[in-house]
């Protein structure tokens, strides 16, 4: 790889000592223009990124294993466990010594729940990858028990590097959809958000415009020139469904709605509108209100659809009349 980098640098007129991986990637892209998908394009990466880590030689020429816990079948894990146990002993002894002197652990450094709040213990797959060994549930549980025992000691912060090497920091698990849709601006400078909702074959495209008076325009996709207000929906049930998100977020007279529906029936379209409307309102409302909307269920898409008919039955579930003879 190093020799290859030198040749590449020579070709591109760069200095191989100062070449970064980014420079290499750009050079390869320049030299091998390709219309293939990114995964199929040629790449030049250091061997550690391409070849998976393998276990090193396990014993010497005389047959003596290199690792002292070779016969346990998980020597690497046991070595780490041994190191943790050594630390438990060391930290306990240190704590007792300081206790005799009357000194207490530094409260700012102690590894309490607050310090450990934004991370979690390594899980069994990650630990397996780290040790390159197949681990059993019991091995893993023992390991975590020892880690917990070590962390619970008052002076465990003395070995926090080793403890944190087994902790994984997870970023706030951002949901696949964004927390809110960024609003766009129309000719008059008013902010608006669009969302397409679905319920049970019904589709509804809803546009919410923020500085508004409470105007509601609903039309069917097949009749774009015949807009209606809330009267598009005959039933009170459907009308209440649509008004509920506005009522809940206290946006009743503050936004304008422009809705286009197609497919489905009245109730389905009402449900689609309700969902799309809730998703749009996220952009105009506080985070706490959004969380409340989530709890109430306004932001959960209702995926229930009509179940298909099964053969041998009248419909999806209903069976034919059972006759004794």
């Amino acid at each position: 790889f190093d020799i290859g980098v030198q040749h590449l640098a020579n070709m591109m007129g760069m200095d191989h000592t100062t070449m970064t991986q980014e420079d290499i990637d750009k050079s390869i892209e320049y030299l091998f223009p390709s219309g293939l998908s990114p995964a199929a394009r040629p790449m030049m990466k250091p061997p550690s990124e391409i070849y998976p880590r393998q276990k090193e030689a396990e014993f010497d020429a005389q047959g003596r294993p290199y690792q002292p816990f070779f016969y346990t079948l998980t020597p690497d894990l046991h070595m780490r466990l041994h190191s943790l146990r050594d630390n438990i002993e060391a930290v306990t002894v240190f704590g007792e010594r300081l206790k005799v002197q009357g000194k207490r652990p530094d409260p700012e450094q102690v590894l309490n729940a607050a310090r450990l709040a934004d991370s979690r213990w390594i899980n069994i797959e990650e630990l397996s990858k780290l040790t390159l060994e197949k681990l059993k549930e019991s091995d893993y549980n023992d390991f975590i028990n020892v880690l917990d025992r070590l962390t619970s000691l008052p002076f465990s912060y003395r070995v926090k590097d080793e403890i944190f090497s087994y902790r994984i920091f997870e970023e706030e698990t951002a949901s696949k959809t964004e927390a809110f849709i960024a609003p766009q601006y129309d000719e008059e400078g008013r902010a608006f958000v669009e969302y397409e909702g679905r319920r049970k074959t019904a589709h509804a495209k809803v546009r919410v415009t923020k500085p508004g008076k409470g105007l509601v325009t609903i039309r069917h996709k097949d009749f774009p020139n015949h807009p209606q207000d809330l009267g598009y929906f005959f039933g009170l049930k459907e009308r209440l469904q649509i008004m509920f998100p506005l009522q809940f977020t206290k946006m009743l007279g503050l936004v304008d709605l422009d809705i286009t529906c197609h497919d489905g029936g009245a109730s389905g379209q009402a449900g689609a509108v309700r969902y799309a409307l809730s998703m749009c309102l996220r952009s105009f409302v506080e985070k706490s209100v959004v969380d409340d909307m989530k709890i109430i269920g306004l932001l959960t898409q209702d995926i229930r659809v009509k179940e298909r008919k099964q053969y041998g039955k009248v419909s999806a579930r209903k069976s034919y009349t059972w006759k004794r003879r």
């Binding site: 047959g63 294993p65 816990f69 041994h82 146990r85």
Partner: protein, 250 residues
């Protein structure tokens, strides 16, 4: 499995262990024998009763101070251990330290000879309070340890468990011969006997010494006594390795 005892008895015609040892020549002084050359040092080492000078490592008083003589309750006495018992005191069995010293010296001598010949020594223990000490002792003398749940296949089907040809241990040392529930014997005793691996085991008054090659009667429940045993084993193995280095260089 008394192969090793037979080897020791070869040099003597007397009955029993003590007679055999009396027939051999006395031990060389510490620091190695000057006359051995690389070629015949392995043979020569067997000509001496105490080639590594291990007698000096402990005395009966050391054993007493480490509470090695304290056994379990007299009611929990294993019948096969009666020959090693000195008596009872307040319902507690007292182990005969005279026998312990002889048997422990034999065991240490054997371990030293194994280490001298570059043998693999495996420390096995399943007692939770002793596990860390045993692991540390093994790492200190650069040998091996197994303090997890025992799988029979490790000894009896090694190719299957390890997926490759491996060298099994040449000696198994057990500082506590029971499983972690205190009632059953550690499976390694039977498996080592099946595969022909000699074992050294510290047997307490409630343990079965039958399948162990070098049973050493002694207390296995005190931390102090276990520390003593591990200390002795580590020292002997290190002495033996030093002696090997010395003999190979001369």
């Amino acid at each position: 499995l008394k192969i090793c005892r037979v080897l020791l008895n070869q040099h003597g015609g007397g009955n029993g262990v003590a007679g055999a040892l009396r027939m051999m020549s006395t031990s060389p002084h510490a620091g190695g024998v000057k006359n051995t050359t690389k070629k015949n040092s392995l043979e020569d080492s067997l000509k001496y009763q105490d080639y590594f000078g291990l007698q000096r490592l402990f005395t009966v008083k050391d054993l007493f101070d480490a509470r090695v003589h304290l056994g379990h309750k007299a009611t929990a006495l294993e019948p096969k251990m009666t020959e090693f018992i000195y008596g009872t005191r307040f319902g507690q069995s007292i182990i005969d330290l005279n026998q312990t010293t002889v048997l422990l010296r034999q065991a240490l001598n054997f371990a030293a000879h194994i280490a001298y010949r570059n043998g693999i020594i495996l420390f096995v223990c399943r007692q939770p309070q002793l596990v860390h000490m045993v692991d540390r002792a093994a790492t200190e003398c650069k040998e091996y340890s197994h303090t997890k749940a025992w799988k029979t296949d490790v000894f009896t089907a090694p190719n299957l468990t390890f997926g490759q040809e491996i060298r099994l241990p040449d000696l198994v040392i057990m500082v506590h011969t029971k499983e972690n529930n205190q009632y059953g014997d550690h499976r390694a005793i039977i498996d080592a006997a099946k595969v022909g691996i000699p074992t050294i085991g510290i047997v307490d008054t409630d343990c079965n010494p039958n399948l162990i090659t070098y049973p050493v009667p002694g207390n296995d429940d005190s931390i102090v006594s276990t520390k003593l045993y591990l200390n002795l084993f580590v020292k002997t193995i290190n002495i033996a390795k030093q002696q090997r280095a010395l003999d190979n260089s001369s």
